[in-house]
């Protein structure tokens, strides 16, 4: 049976590769960071929680000291890319399409045809495992078709990875924060507080408060990912899911999207709102946000309605 453990070994090998290439490039901070992540993937299941905790602290230390830098591996020149683009045409989109197609069609086949009875994949884990298989297919197809130099795919991947930098593990770290919040009973504390504010049994008001909290926390922090574990612990889990019995999938997914509406409204999300204003040489630094207000607010209302209808009216 193929399990997540296989996936971790595969990812571990990729990160070892990126760590070694960084080392060859004399970017020691990057080599250390991706090397630690590789270590977590390769041995995380076999060492104690305390050792895993030390790996986390080491990762944060490297990132916190500014050890990660962008990299600039050798690649094709803009004129060459233009030529390739003309020569290869829209077929260039196909290898990228292989990944979601493998995962979605594979998942459907696994769940609705006899293929599922083979028990090939760990239960409920098939989509991400099929995603990895899709990546390997796409990579093999791309290499066979384009015939790049041997190290090119990993070097191109490193260029993208280093432009993402420490943000690559932020979602994983935030999920871990959510788990520590759960352990510390943060949700229970806020649940009891919120119970005194939100009128007893009023599901709609609770949904509004949850979605508003996601948007407002996102605006303050500039990041819906960070708002999510906080609002899940505060209202999403204790009130909407446990107390009122809502559908966890709707509450989680659409709650995040209510946060994205907040991202459209805040100068704290500089990459999306302030940087483009500068790139476009707008006189008004908040010009982009001004054009987004009219979309963000009605869309937030839609999200409230979708949660209320999808997680409660249709679910129960």
């Amino acid at each position: 049976m193929i399990t997540y453990e296989w996936l971790y070994i595969l990812a571990g090998i990729f990160f070892v590769g990126w760590s070694l290439l960084s080392l060859r490039d004399r970017r020691f901070g990057n080599a250390g960071f991706w090397g630690l992540l590789a270590l977590s993937f390769l041995v995380g299941s076999h060492v104690s929680d305390f050792v895993n905790g030390l790996i986390v602290l080491a990762l944060v230390a490297v990132a916190g000291m500014g050890g990660l830098k962008r990299s600039d591996p050798a690649t094709t020149a803009p004129a060459e890319r233009q030529n390739f683009s003309k020569l290869l045409g829209n077929k260039l989109f196909l290898p990228a399409l292989v990944v979601p197609l493998t995962a979605v069609i594979g998942t459907l086949a696994y769940n609705y045809t006899p293929f599922g009875e083979t028990g090939l994949f760990e239960e409920r884990r098939e989509t991400l495992l099929l995603f990895a298989i899709g990546v390997l297919f796409a990579l093999a197809a791309g290499i066979a078709w384009l015939r790049p130099p041997a190290l090119a795919p990993m070097e191109e991947g490193r260029r993208l990875l280093d432009s993402i930098g420490w943000a690559a593990i932020l979602p994983q770290m935030l999920a871990a924060l959510g788990a520590v919040f759960a352990l510390a009973g943060v949700g229970d504390v806020i649940g009891s507080l919120a119970g005194t504010i939100i009128p007893d049994g009023n599901v709609f008001v609770a949904v509004v408060v949850f979605a508003l909290g996601m948007a407002v926390f996102t605006m303050i922090m500039g990041n819906a990912f960070a708002a999510f574990p906080v609002m899940a612990a505060a209202i999403g889990i204790p009130l909407l899911i446990v107390e009122y019995g809502g559908n966890p999938a709707t509450i989680g997914a659409v709650g995040m999207l209510a946060g994205f509406c907040g991202t459209l409204l805040t100068p704290m999300a500089a990459n999306f709102n302030i940087v483009p204003a500068a790139l476009l040489e707008l006189k008004d630094q908040n010009g982009v946000i001004r054009q987004q207000v009219g979309t963000a607010i009605p869309l937030w209302v839609c999200n409230v309605v979708i949660i209320y209808v999808g997680a409660f009216l249709l679910w129960n």
Partner: protein
């Protein structure tokens, strides 16, 4: 009841607002929350390590980068530009609505880096939208040109935000999965990702409608 663990939430909010390194903020908040809930330091490090380890699948998605990088090496970005450039001659409204849909669909199948402000909006979408607006409505005052450019950037953001979550192997979906699993709710990424579809449709209708209304309004003010 012990209210002290709530301080962890305050640390997250303040730390992000003050622009400290987010990894540092998150780990600081986790440690503070654990200690204030009465755990000793070693148990907190253990809890953090165990939770980080359990959520490794979220960071597995980066193995897609060599595929995208390889395609970029052979002109993926340039190809995306060519698709958009085919719309030269369309009105500003049609152009931006098309770009909105293109951005949502490509993000929904995992190509979220195909657009973006430095790669697509500045060199391509904004100048094309401006040229199209001038062509239909005649010369525009500076103020209105700024709005056209800002609307182009806004369209990129809306398309990305409300397309990407349909792709199941994306950090935000797996983060939701990880947090819910921490509370004992086991969901698959696809179960979550389908719930991004209704909002994606609303976003297309609302923002698309606003773009077309903006194009119409420009025509009135220009006359």
């Amino acid at each position: 009841m012990n209210y002290w663990p709530l301080l962890g939430i305050a640390i997250v909010v303040i730390g992000f607002a003050l622009r400290f390194n987010p990894l540092l903020v998150v780990v600081g908040a986790a440690v503070a929350t654990g200690v204030l809930a009465g755990l000793d330091l070693v148990s907190v490090v253990e809890a953090l390590g165990s939770a980080f380890n359990d959520n490794r699948y979220i960071s597995v998605t980066w193995i897609i980068l060599p595929v995208i990088g390889l395609l970029e090496r052979y002109g993926l970005q340039e190809r995306a530009r060519a698709v958009i450039e085919n719309l030269r001659g369309a009105t500003m409204g049609k152009l931006l609505v098309f770009y909105l849909g293109f951005r949502q669909i490509t993000a929904a199948i995992g190509m979220k880096d195909i657009g973006g402000h430095p790669q697509a909006v500045r060199p391509l979408v904004a100048p094309m939208a401006e040229a199209a607006a001038v062509k239909t409505h005649g010369d525009l005052p500076e103020e209105e040109r700024e709005k056209v450019k800002a609307m182009s950037a806004a369209t990129d953001n809306v398309g990305l935000f409300f397309g990407e979550d349909i792709f199941f192997a994306i950090a935000s979906i797996l983060l939701i999965q990880g947090v819910l699993e921490g509370y004992g709710y086991k969901l698959t990424p696809l179960e979550l990702a389908v719930w991004a579809i209704p909002t994606a449709i609303c976003a297309f209708l609302i923002h698309g409608g606003r773009i077309l209304a903006f194009d119409k309004r420009l025509g009135r003010t220009a006359k």
